[in-house]
Subunit: 103 residues, 2 copies
């Protein structure tokens, strides 16, 4: 596998709530967040989500989720794996993740 | 003043959280919600908000806020006045309004 850039992250503390709303306003991104909420941390590779979009669009959606402080990613061999930033989000926006997952 | 159609409303109970996120993802709409949160009910006319958009765009933004269950409107003489659906929203999406206003 070739080199690829490390994913850039933004901590929830540095994210305005409007950006989180925008990230969660999209059905694909909301679906990813909901799937991650039901999965152990670092277990879901980017390719493992059942989404109706192509690779380039999916890559964009993950970038939006990172920049809104919702997810963290790291490379694990050939895979890029994900975790929901549950604790950090809960500290910054109490209750928001539950609303997104249940609502 | 001519006749105009009564505004159509959607109750928060009938709104998926994704639609609320979409409504609050826009800076003009988030600004209106924040101003309403600081105003007594039915006191703010549509023309009283300090927003950088024209009349048609503003009318669209109010329609989005109504259909997301965020606001209620009624005509009061020549004015259309607004209230935030605070109690209904709190019952359906606990804590969300506070996050939007503070965040």
């Amino acid at each position: 596998m070739g080199h690829r850039a490390e994913p850039e992250h933004t901590h929830p503390d540095d994210v305005p709530v409007q950006a989180v709303f925008a990230a969660l306003a999209d059905p694909v991104r909301l679906g990813i967040v909901r799937e991650l909420a039901g999965s152990p941390e670092w277990e879901r590779a980017c390719g493992s989500f059942d989404v109706p979009v192509g690779k380039a669009a999916l890559s964009h959606h993950f970038a939006v989720l990172r920049s809104a402080g919702l997810i963290e990613q790291r490379d694990d061999g050939a895979k890029r794996v994900n975790r929901l930033r549950r604790a950090e989000l809960e500290a910054r926006f109490p209750g928001l993740l539950d609303l997104a997952v249940i609502g």
